[in-house]
């Protein structure tokens, strides 16, 4: 833990003439921490991710302020890595995997293409993709969902960014693969000292690795604090409801039994 990375002050985002997707968000993110942003559909959590990454569309209207420590606006790819929810869609279908990972290194690390491909191979091994040499030459449609997400993560961390934003990276995956990806992210982030912002709708999923949890509800920040505190004694009723409604193997039967 070494100081502030970025501070959001009164951040508000609206798309075109529509209602606010984010409203008056005050949030501070420390360098090296693992922050989980929890919310349901329409809470604005993806908008928050895009706003942080500087990827909002042109018709987005922004209020408030995103203050980066050191004053310099971060460069996407080099300072911020982004992992999308649907890896199948975020990988270009007509380009080989190797090119899509190597191009990040070629662009930001000053490597030539030959070096970049070798570097990409190592990255693929790091994210535990089986047979990295084969995968380098493969296309996205030839990989499984879990493999695609690993590739996407490799591309996101290729330039060794300070911040890794993962927007629901496991929501489209099977359960076992989900936990593999989560532990992969956790390990990578810790080893490289990256800050992780993990967006999810599943508060139980993040409970295993998040340092802090922020909860969004209908475009507003409802609660933010250390993970243990938020989970044990949530200050907001919405957070309490979220925690209470998670379904696990130990949850009593919902259907058939009288509550």
């Amino acid at each position: 833990m070494s100081g502030r990375l970025v501070t959001l002050r009164g951040l508000g985002v609206a798309y075109g003439a529509g209602p606010a997707a984010l409203s008056d968000i005050d949030l501070a993110i420390s360098a090296g921490e693992r922050l989980a942003v929890i919310g349901e559909s329409g809470s604005g959590k993806s908008t928050l991710a895009l706003a942080l990454a500087g990827l909002l569309p042109d018709n987005a209207r922004i209020a408030g302020d995103i203050a980066w420590e050191g004053g310099m606006k971060p460069v996407p790819g080099r300072d911020i890595g982004f992992v999308f929810q649907d890896a199948g869609a975020s990988l270009n279908p007509v380009l080989r995997i190797g090119e899509q990972v190597a191009e990040v290194a070629q662009r930001h690390l000053g490597l030539d293409w030959h070096e970049a491909y070798a570097y990409a191979r190592d990255l693929l091994a790091q994210v535990q993709v089986p047979a990295p040499d084969t995968v380098l030459r493969a296309y996205a449609h030839q990989l499984s969902g879990g493999q695609r997400q690993r590739v996407a993560i490799a591309a996101a961390i290729a330039a060794r960014p300070r911040l890794l934003i993962a927007d629901e990276p496991t929501s489209a995956l099977d359960t076992i693969v989900q936990s593999e990806i989560v532990s992969l992210l956790d390990r990578l982030v810790r080893e490289a000292g990256m800050t992780l912002v993990f967006i999810s709708h599943d508060i139980a999923l993040v409970s295993g690795f998040a340092d802090r949890i922020a909860v969004l509800h209908q475009a507003r920040l409802v609660e933010a604090g250390p993970a243990a505190d938020v989970l044990r004694s949530p200050k907001a009723t919405y957070t309490a409801r979220l925690i209470a409604s998670h379904i696990g193997l130990d949850t009593p039967r919902l259907v058939g039994a009288r509550a």
Partner: protein
């Protein structure tokens, strides 16, 4: 390359029934035309006595039933015998083979012009959807697409051949110039500039619009946003990520437009008096030469099928997802 061959074989096989239907259709067309081959022949030799006519009919099997005539026709086609032209008094296949290269040069150059320039302009327009550049190119291409090719040809002749005298008004080569080799090739190229432009500009507009639309669609995809998230150079995103995907529907369109362009060559060759395959069709109509016209239709169908086969292969090479179900990695 294996994938390409598999596609090619599949496509070629499914083309056979189509070709058969075209052949039957051509035969029916011949039947529908007033008079038959013997009448046509008699016309060209100035008439004959009824006994001769009957004998000729018998020897050519033209007095037999419809199915018999059809099988005669089919066996003639199998021998690549397309029949005899009334207007020219020569075998039809010879005529066609003589005229075809000119048209292929014309069409090929027009496609090359339309595809390269159209894609390039389309990429420029699609790089920034909604920009001034984009709207100008969009409106301009729509207006160009609405122009009839023969009228465009006349306008080009007026401006560039009559007023500016940069290009000749018609023909494919300077008559009796005696040029050989490179000089002759350049002369032909010089003659073809205006016809190629007349034929090609309309398709240029089409390809521009397709590329533009394809890029707008590609920009909406997640992989375009992911490319921006990686902080790649704008030029690389536009060309390697977005345009590369937008290219695919364009290649498909190439195949679909092949038939249209072959038809378009008829009028353009007529305007510029280019002695090609298309002009031959017009001459066939003028001379009421049904066998020649039928032969032209058959050959056109074959050309279109071949072009579509080539386009299919090209598409299969460009899109790695094609034929994927026949071999999937884990």
């Amino acid at each position: 390359m294996n994938r390409a061959f598999r596609l090619l074989r599949r496509r070629a096989i499914s083309s056979i029934p189509v070709l058969l239907i075209v052949v039957v259709g051509a035969f029916l067309l011949l039947e529908a035309a007033p008079g038959d081959a013997v009448d046509a022949y008699l016309l060209s030799i100035g008439g004959g006595d009824p006994a001769l006519v009957q004998a000729l009919r018998e020897s050519y099997g033209l007095d037999q039933s419809l199915p018999a005539r059809l099988s005669l026709y089919l066996s003639a086609l199998a021998r690549l015998d397309l029949g005899w032209s009334v207007t020219f008094g020569r075998p039809i296949l010879d005529l066609i083979l003589e005229r075809l290269p000119n048209t292929l040069w014309l069409m090929g150059s027009a496609v090359a012009l339309a595809f390269t320039l159209g894609s390039a302009l389309g990429i420029i327009a699609g790089a920034r959807p909604g920009s001034v550049r984009d709207r100008l190119l969009s409106t301009g291409s729509l207006a160009l697409y609405a122009v009839p090719s023969f009228w465009l040809g006349l306008v080009l002749i007026l401006v560039f051949a009559v007023q500016l005298r940069w290009f000749p008004t018609s023909g494919i080569a300077t008559i009796a110039s005696g040029k050989q080799g490179i000089a002759r090739a350049l002369d032909i190229a010089h003659h073809l500039v205006l016809p190629v432009c007349s034929l090609g500009f309309i398709y240029l507009a089409l390809f521009l619009r397709m590329m533009r639309a394809g890029m707008a669609e590609a920009w909406r995809q997640d992989y375009a946003l992911a490319a921006r998230a990686k902080g790649l150079a704008r030029r690389r995103i536009v060309l390697r990520h977005v345009a590369r995907n937008a290219l695919l529907p364009l290649v498909t369109m190439l195949g679909l437009q092949a038939a249209s362009m072959l038809g378009g060559s008829v009028v353009v060759e007529s305007v510029f008096a280019v002695p090609g395959f298309g002009r031959l069709a017009q001459e066939a109509v003028a001379g009421r030469d049904a066998p020649l016209l039928t032969g032209i239709i058959l050959v056109s169908a074959v050309i279109v099928i071949l072009i579509n086969l080539a386009v299919d292969i090209a598409y299969g090479i460009l899109d790695p997802r094609v034929g994927a179900s026949e071999g999937r990695a884990a």
